[in-house]
């Protein structure tokens, strides 16, 4: 092997290592970044499955005292209803009764390290030799041996979510229904009217078409707050304050929907509707039977955007809705946080339930959504 060949092989080798190294470094970076992104969500989920007293702890594993409290107030009374009726001494005796000798020894040496090795396993001699605070410590340690993390989280998960879902202070189910109901109606109306208008803009020739389309485009730059105020006064005038209609109708017409669907429809070859027209199809048939099925990806993208935007919509329901039973989820969450803000575990449970439909929607529709975002930007 000549020296030049060696140099080339050497270079290739180091290049190979460089590539490999870059891939591994990127992979590690991506994992770390994903963790950073997820940490707030993980904290939210964890907090939603904890008792209020443990919410401030960073560690997902409760302290010995919290474990013991859970075992004594929840786990043992559940397993044996008699436990709650026992006196303190009897409870210690009960705990001794359900544990075997070796685990009692271990527990004692944990609770009182200086007692380790001594042969004090007779319950009455042991308790007699301890002060009352030491007895408490012993009891906590004995009880915590019965602790199960899965049972703990399962218990508080059910309790917190049930507390929110069936709360008497807030009408959580109602908020949920309102949000889904309004978002669905807006999505339906938006898809229907936008696709009709997009059909007129993309598939039909008529005078003034381009100037009206430019008008649509121009309004996309106008900030929402500019039109919110007149729309509010319009709702006052039409007596639609505090009603589903007032929430749904103004949200159902956007220039964006028409614009997005027009983009999709422009990419459908014109020969298709020409052929259908020659076969005697009316414009409505062309729209309904030819263009709409082909524009399906566009309709899906618009539906996802519209649904998610209106499900999370905040400003409009905030100013429009006064009665409690018409509040949507974001508004309900806002008042829940304002009035019961210190119940962090319940608020986090409500937040999790709030975003679950969005996550399901996103995971199912990811493919369309990514394409749609990238297409929506191609207006140059």
């Amino acid at each position: 092997m000549s020296t030049t060949e060696q140099a080339v092989v050497g270079q290739g080798f180091s290049k190979w290592w460089f590539r490999k190294g870059k891939v591994y470094a990127s992979f590690i970076f991506l994992i770390l970044f994903a963790l950073t992104t997820l940490t707030p969500f993980l904290w939210m989920i964890n907090a939603s499955m904890k008792p209020l007293e443990a919410v401030e702890d960073l560690s997902p594993i409760p302290t010995i005292e919290q474990q013991a409290r859970f075992v004594e107030t929840v786990a043992l009374p559940q397993a044996d209803p008699e436990y709650a009726t026992l006196s303190e001494d009897e409870q210690i005796a009960y705990l001794f009764g359900i544990l075997d000798i070796s685990s009692i020894r271990e527990t004692i040496s944990q609770a009182f390290p200086d007692m380790a090795g001594s042969e004090l396993v007779d319950m009455s001699t042991l308790t007699a030799s301890l002060s009352s605070s030491e007895q408490q410590t012993l009891r906590a340690h004995l009880a915590s041996t019965q602790f199960s993390l899965a049972q703990y989280y399962w218990h508080y998960l059910r309790r917190n979510y049930d507390d929110v879902w069936n709360s008497e202070d807030i009408l959580f189910q109602r908020y949920y229904f309102n949000s889904l109901f309004i978002a669905m109606w807006v999505t339906l109306l938006q898809c229907f009217t936008s696709s009709l208008a997009a059909f007129a803009f993309a598939r039909l020739e008529w005078p003034g078409r381009d100037s009206i389309f430019k008008l649509y485009l121009a309004t996309m730059m106008i900030p929402g707050v500019v039109v919110m105020i007149p729309n509010y006064t319009l709702m006052v005038f039409l007596r639609l304050l505090d009603s589903y209609t007032g929430l749904i109708i103004p949200a159902a017409f956007t220039a964006f929907g028409t614009f997005l669907l027009r983009q999709f429809m422009l990419s459908i070859p014109p020969s298709l509707d020409e052929a259908a027209t020659i076969d005697g199809a009316s414009p409505w048939r062309v729209y309904w039977d030819v263009i709409l099925p082909l524009a399906r990806p566009g309709l899906i993208v618009l539906s996802i955007f519209t649904f998610m935007q209106n499900y999370q919509s905040f400003f409009w329901p905030l100013v429009l809705i006064k009665s409690e039973h018409l509040r949507t989820l974001p508004i309900g969450m806002l008042y829940f946080d304002t009035n019961y803000g210190n119940q962090t575990n319940l608020i986090m449970a409500a937040s999790v339930m709030n975003i679950v439909p969005l996550i399901i929607l996103f995971v199912l529709m990811q493919k369309y959504l990514v394409a749609g975002i990238q297409l929506g930007a191609v207006k140059g």
């Binding site: 401030e56 039909l204 005078p207 500019v226 220039a255 905030l318 806002l334």
Partner: protein, 316 residues
Amino acid sequence: MTRRTRTTLTALAFLMPNFVGFCVFMLWPVVFSFGVAFTNWTLIRTVPLQFVGLENFIEMFSSDDFWLYFINTGYLMLGMPFAIAGSLFLAIVLSQKIKGTVVFRTLFYLPTFTAGVALFILWKKLYNPQFGPINVLLQEVFGLSAEQTPSWLSSTRNVFALAVEQVGIDPAQFGLGARDAIIIMGIWVAVGGANMLLYLAGIANIPRDLYEASEIDGAGVWGKFRHVTWPQLAPTTFFIVVMSFIGGLQGGFEQARVMTEGGPAGTTTTLAYYIYTKAFEEFQIGYASAVAWVLFTIIFAITLVNWRFGSRYVNY
């Protein structure tokens, strides 16, 4: 009836349902709010409705509040370049041939997709100065005392030491406060969002032979980024910057309403939140419309400047 008239009528029939709604809820409001901006209209009918000329605008520009909220709006937009640079970096890393790209993309997009009141309440809890996990972490991991950790959403401090109440600099205000907290949260929300997806699409469209050619010319990782990726992505970057400006100028409303109620001392009140309080808490429709139109004018001007200035650097 000629064929031409018939098609026109058909087209109008298709357009009508959307166009009526568009006129009632979009065009008319714009015209209406422009007119209202020159009146003293309030929903509390104590004063007779009057045309007041430029009075609303004069009152606005001579009030310290307006300028403070104007600065706040700009301050909150300072996270933009970091978020955009982060999106670009993530997109570059994700465009390599790595397993699980789709999984990472999904995870990174999660905050953008779920952003809303629920996430803002979550961050309010995270930022709690006494019990929030961020300060607990700072205390436990970095050994800071409770006084050394930032008060986040309840603090008027900021990294530029901007004074509160009047426009100026006050060294005592140096630190991390409510506005910085909102910026950090904003970056977390936006960095893996739509901008990253746009950059991913942009990178996928760069012709491979440009990289091969630059490799033959001896370009390293930085050289390839500097001379191929960055110039090729210029249209994408330009689009993202314009859209971020438009979004940023009208932003900050939900954060202010949910997390801080505009405080402390008005430091998180943006123009959008100011308009909301004027219109829907004080019912001064005329004045609020005037502020809304100033906001619109700023957005319009900045978009124009962006197009003129930006298109020089974009070679398609």
